[in-house]
């Protein structure tokens, strides 16, 4: 039991890699995961800092948080937003944590700027990749808020802040449904921010997991109508068909054997084990071969050329399965590729040129999904790839509602079922 004087101030401080609360009020229930030391102080993982603060605030107990970085000077605060975003007051009332779903790019930016003014703290905006980083940085510069908000990809944050002292008291996570969940969980726990805001584009099954660290759902907006979706089923050449089927059958043979031995294990387990187990490795390599043939082949290259010619003059985004196919399309049609291998300045220049519409076509595997403003393109050509439904939705979001998305699907391959599943899910 904790013995303390009724008017004692609780002190939150860092102790090694954990958080220690001295003088925890006896009438305040600590969150799960926190334990009392022999000297009566409360010890908790750093990731629980926000929850401890909220618990103390809820009971009205005075506290001093020695981990809090210095507040942002008034002259560096971003400009105010009039009228204030609908979710802002709710977010602040809930102790500065929560998530919103379905807001547009402009509304998201307004909410972030308003929240930074409320928290009066330097914010860290965590994005998935350098494409999103460049886009957000451009938006913040336009609104004169770049000095108050750092924008970094999640992988950079994980490298930079693992185990370090928190530098930001307010963390915004953009499109958390697109981040690798284990990395994001590590980052959120390591940052130990006092305030959190998550900007979810599309609600999905992962929303429950997001609310575990981001807090309550504050606002839900149904997204506007999506662009028209056209599925083009393309045949493989005979040689490609032979190569695909041979690889696919080899994979199925290996996977069947694996499933017979491990009936409860799924495909993910097969992939993990095949990386280190020579017996399953050929099967996994065969799966990669079959997927590569289906993702990029002669018919898709030809269809891509025809579609680019048909929509010459329109803003077109070509989403490719990998870098190699992006470079191939770029060489063939002399359209600019956007990949993570390009120098950063060149990437930023390409995205800015596309936003200004001086560059009409961009081709790339992943950075386009979040690097281009939502609804900025007229036409989308999905050649292949994407890591799931959330990526697929992000790609479709880049295309204006009046535009059109062509999805190129290799006939009689696993792409057909995948495209159908995604299309059904997006219609729902």
């Amino acid at each position: 039991m904790v013995g303390r004087h009724a008017d004692m101030t609780t002190i939150l401080e860092r102790c090694g890699g954990a958080l220690r609360a001295r003088g925890w009020p006896p009438d305040c229930m600590p969150p799960p995961g926190a334990t009392f030391d022999a000297d009566g102080s409360l010890r908790a993982p750093l990731g629980l800092r926000a929850r401890l603060r909220r618990a103390l605030a809820a009971t009205g107990a005075p506290f001093v948080d020695s981990l809090a970085p210095p507040p942002l000077p008034a002259e560096r605060l971003p400009p105010g937003v009039v009228p204030p975003p609908a979710a802002l007051a709710t977010w602040w009332r809930h102790g500065g944590h929560g998530h919103v779903v379905g807001l547009g790019d402009g509304e998201q930016l307004d909410l972030v700027l308003g929240a930074v003014r409320c928290a009066a703290s330097r914010a860290l905006l965590v994005v998935r990749d350098s494409g999103a980083e460049l886009r957000w940085q451009a938006l913040l510069r336009e609104r004169g808020a770049a000095a108050a908000i750092d924008v970094w990809p999640v992988a950079t944050v994980a490298r930079r802040f693992a185990g370090g002292a928190p530098l930001h008291d307010f963390v915004v996570v953009a499109q958390p449904e697109l981040h690798p969940p284990p990395t994001l969980a590590t980052v959120i726990a390591g940052l130990a921010a006092a305030h959190v805001l998550a900007l979810v584009d599309h609600a999905g099954p992962e929303l429950l997991g997001i609310s575990a660290w981001a807090g309550p759902l504050l606002q839900f907006v149904r997204r506007r109508a999506a662009a028209a979706h056209v599925e083009l089923h393309l045949p493989l050449l005979p040689a490609e068909r032979v190569a695909h089927d041979a690889a696919w059958h080899e994979f199925l043979g290996a996977y069947d054997a694996f499933a017979a031995m491990r009936p409860s294990a799924g495909f993910g387990t097969f992939v993990r084990e095949a990386r280190g187990e020579p017996a399953w490795r050929p099967g996994l390599l065969a799966w990669h071969r079959a997927r590569a043939v289906a993702a990029w082949n002669h018919a898709k290259a030809a269809a891509c050329g025809e579609l680019l010619a048909r929509h010459r003059g329109a803003s077109v985004l070509v989403f490719t399965p990998d870098r190699a196919s992006a470079y191939e399309i770029a060489r063939e049609h002399l359209v600019a590729p956007l990949t993570a291998e390009l120098p950063r300045a060149e990437r930023a220049a390409l995205l800015a040129a596309f936003a200004r519409r001086t560059l009409r076509t961009l081709v790339g595997p992943r950075l386009l999904e979040l690097g281009v403003d939502a609804g900025a393109a007229d036409v989308g050509i999905v050649v292949g790839g994407g890591f799931g439904l959330a990526d697929c939705r992000a790609r479709h979001d880049r295309i204006a509602p009046a535009g059109i998305v062509y999805e190129l699907v290799a006939e009689h391959t696993a792409e057909v079922g995948r495209a159908r599943r995604f299309a059904d899910a997006m219609r729902r």
């Binding site: 994980a158 490298r159 693992a162 370090g164 590590t186 390599l285 870098r323 190699a324 470079y327 770029a330 060489r331 063939e332 002399l334 359209v335 600019a336 590729p337 990949t339 291998e341 390009l342 120098p343 060149e346 220049a349 040129a353 001086t358 560059l359 009409r360 076509t361």
Partner: protein
Amino acid sequence: MPCAADRVPCARIDGELVPDWLSAADQPWLRELLLDAGAFVGRPLASLQARWRASEPPPRAGARWPLVLQVVQRRLVPRSACSAATALRIRVFGAVAAGVARAEALAAAAAEFGLEPAAVPAALFADLGAQRVVRWPAELDATSLRLEANTWLARQLLATATSAELELQGASRAVLRTAWLNGTWFRCLAADPSGARLQWRPGPGDRGAGRRLAAMVPVLPWARRYVLRATCRWRGAAGTFVLSSLDELMPGAAPAAFDSQLERELAAALVRELPEWDVTREPASLPRGDRLAFPDFALQRRCGGGAAWWLEVAGLRDPAALAGKLELLRAEERYLLCVPRRWCPAALAAEPRVCAFAGRADVGSMAAWVRSCVARRALRRDDA
């Protein structure tokens, strides 16, 4: 969080991290690997990577296979900032976006960058990742690959170092200067002509300190003898990694052997004059207040032992440096100092451990003087 060092093939034995070094027994599979890679010269790196992915690793390579591939890749396609390709891309894609026809855009870019129009599409991404072209570098063979892989392995482990101690003899100035230039600071714990003991501690919260320490690995093989003991992290736990002059590493660019022609000639004269003595160049660092001094030579009798001698040839490009040398002369009993005659006061010239010289013409007399100094001292010790 896992780091690159965790992938280093290593074993923890009694708290010591023992890497799975590549040895002469690995030469056969390394040679095969290089012969295989040689077939991809002139082709994109992607094709070589595909070949590596599909091929079965040699049984002897084990966990070292990915590490060796990484080293081969770095040699075959070194990273370089290629602004020409960036400019070419901007030129070509900008022209096409502005409505110029493909052929015209390619021709204009070819003329501007001195290429054949047909070669422009291939050159567009020649600086990017797996699109880079494989080129065979000079002096790449199984032996150099083995040494480079060992060096890489040591650097990966040292990048996680949290403290280190270095025993160093010979080439001490080159080693420590490289360390300083990389931002690594050593504290001298002890020094005598047979070597110095130095300590390294990173600053608080300095995450790049280990990587900077690792950058001195290529210069260590130039020392006559060294032992580096570092506390490193490997797979979540700390261990001591010991790197010594017995380990086979690839020496980096050779440091200058001598500072001046005078030193070179004096070293040769000493070897001739004192056949029973070992002459070591820049043997160790001597602490002088908060700075370090690097005497030019150490003389150690090969048989019979006895204390070694420091020998300093002061060029005195900066005459103010003489004060520091005199301080060392007073502090060290076995310290011999050669000073240019024009900078040597009469009182100093009378000092038995000081030799005034006029130039390279005096090298023979300097060597004879050194011989007489060390012989006189040895005789006195025998009398005693």
